[in-house]
């Protein structure tokens, strides 16, 4: 379970203008929950996602994941927790351009080799319809295929939480549908998804809808 309590984050810029990205944001995400946060660009959605992903320490508030105050842990322990429990999907995919799809999917193995990793990678590739492309590099794929590779990489480590930042932002309707279906299937199997988007179609797949405006999170 992921519990965000009273999170605040302010960016201090060099021109002395401060931007409050999160204002006392609270959110509880239980297994099987697919939460979608909608909002305009710059409203604090990505900050919320990175904070939930143990990558950005909030100024105030607590992030509790699997009953642990994660920002009380050391950087190394947070990295381990992230590796074992959290998968990321980004609008820009963030695939490694010089690795094949198979290697991109198995990227988490750089640190901790997964038992029967190759079989699992193949199974995920098959499930996401990119099995025939495993020897290709990201540059040889369509946008939709790239996002499916990113999704496969996020699912590879058997996470309990997937954080998705505009996962359908660059996709055609068919690819969008496929990605959202996979995220739904993940939650149906007990996983949690926190997705930030401004795409209403994407939000339609969510079980919980939130709206974010000027750093304030509200139930939609």
């Amino acid at each position: 379970m992921l519990i965000l309590s009273q999170l605040s984050k302010t960016y201090h810029r060099s021109d002395r203008k401060s931007v409050e990205a999160m204002k006392e944001v609270s959110l509880i995400l239980k297994p099987g929950c697919f939460a979608s946060v909608q909002g305009a660009s710059g409203c604090g959605k990505s900050t919320l996602l990175l904070t939930a992903g143990l990558l950005q320490r909030p100024d105030h508030g607590v992030v509790e994941f699997q009953k642990e105050d994660v920002y009380a842990l050391s950087r190394e322990k947070r990295a381990t927790l992230r590796r074992r429990e959290i998968g990321f999907v980004f609008q820009q995919f963030h695939l490694i351009p010089y690795l094949t799809l198979l290697d991109n999917i198995r990227l988490p193995d750089c640190v901790e080799t997964e038992d029967e990793g190759e079989q699992r990678a193949h199974a995920l590739a098959k499930q996401l319809g990119i099995l025939h492309r495993l020897d290709h590099t990201p540059g040889e794929l369509s946008t939709g295929e790239r996002q499916r590779v990113a999704l496969a990489r996020a699912l590879y480590g058997k996470p309990s939480l997937i954080l998705a930042d505009e996962p359908t932002g660059n996709l055609d309707p068919d690819s969008t549908q496929r990605v959202l279906d996979e995220l739904s299937r993940f939650t149906q199997q007990g996983g949690m998804v926190l997705m930030v988007t401004h795409d209403p179609t994407a939000s339609a797949h969510a079980t919980h809808l939130f709206k974010m405006e000027n750093g304030v999170l509200e139930t939609s």
Binding site: L55, A79, T80, R82, F88, L107, D109, C110, V111, T113
Partner: protein, 424 residues
Amino acid sequence: MNLGRLFRSELQFRWGHSLLGLLAVFLTVSVVAAVQMRLNWQRADTLRVLENNRQEVEDLFDTLEDEMRKITKAMGFNVMVLPAEQNLADFYANDFAANTMPEDYVYTLANAGIITVQHLLPILQQKVFWEEESSTTLVIGVRSEVPLADSMPKSPLLQPVPSGCIVLGYELHANKDWKEGDQLVFQGQTFTIHELKPQRGNKDDITVWIPLETAQTLFNKEKQISAILALQCKCAWADIAKVREELVRILPGTQVIEFSSRALARAEARNQTAETRKQVLDQENRNRQSILLREERFASTLVPLVSLGSMGLLATLTFFNVRDRKSEIGILRAIGLSRSHVLILFLGKAACLGLVGMLPGLVAAITVMTQMSIPEGALPWHAGLQAYPLLIIAFLTPALQCIAAWAPAVWAANQDPANILHED
């Protein structure tokens, strides 16, 4: 999938960048190893040349010494004319003649027209206790040579002591703070030090030389002398018996002894030869060492310069590599790689470049050595090929590449993944 595969794939993907890094390592290792081998070869060849020269000089001087021995066999001998009443046992025991004879004898001898004697030198000897310095000394009063009648002037064998001056043997001045030109008191008279003799290892070390007239006055022996040195007695038929016979015929109240043998002269000549031999060898040694030193100085400038240049280039390449891979660093950190993993990723790449570039660099250096122009008779190129320095280069190359890449690698590891992902 592992970190090794990740940086191998990246090396292939950014091949231009990797090639540049490899080239820098390759050139550095080539230059450093070639310079190192060249210096090793130079050292070994210097030793060879010095050894050869030593042998040549030894042979040359052996020949010279042999020639000198042959020459000195025909060399004249030195005799001493003593008063007839001088007990020779006392003379040999005390090392000086206590009896005296008239100084005129020397002029009689000089004017006798004898042809076997080249130089005549009258002396007055006396063993005295030097009261001012509380030491026993042998005093020799000397004057300039007496010219021989019917004979061409010769260059003097011994230099006279100027009036008012004194010459001191080694033991008499060894522990004093005297220098030439200083004044001292000897037997109540003040003298100027004319010369301080080096150590000879014989009675000369306790001898004081003063002008003959001064000695005669000092010892109350006016117009008296202890002995006449007849030096370099020489002619084709001359031997000691012949010379003795001739001198005693002219000066009936005297006796003649040989006081400095030809063997001694030969020994001195040999010593002189040995000294010259040592000087020649030392000079050759200094010349070769100077050449070697010049090459070592050149190498000590070139090697750090090339190494620093290469490290600077690799640091710059790593910096640009980090900048190009920021997005990659962000996602790697997001999927759970720690800062140390990122550090290893960049340092591993630098070490890999070091290892891969080092091997062809060593091969190139050896190839350069094989093509080096070697003077005839010099050692072959492989005399400079030593395993130990090459092993050090092999070990240091990846280590130095890691040091060069350290700052940009730390910068990469310290990148905030949240910032990177936010920017993207």
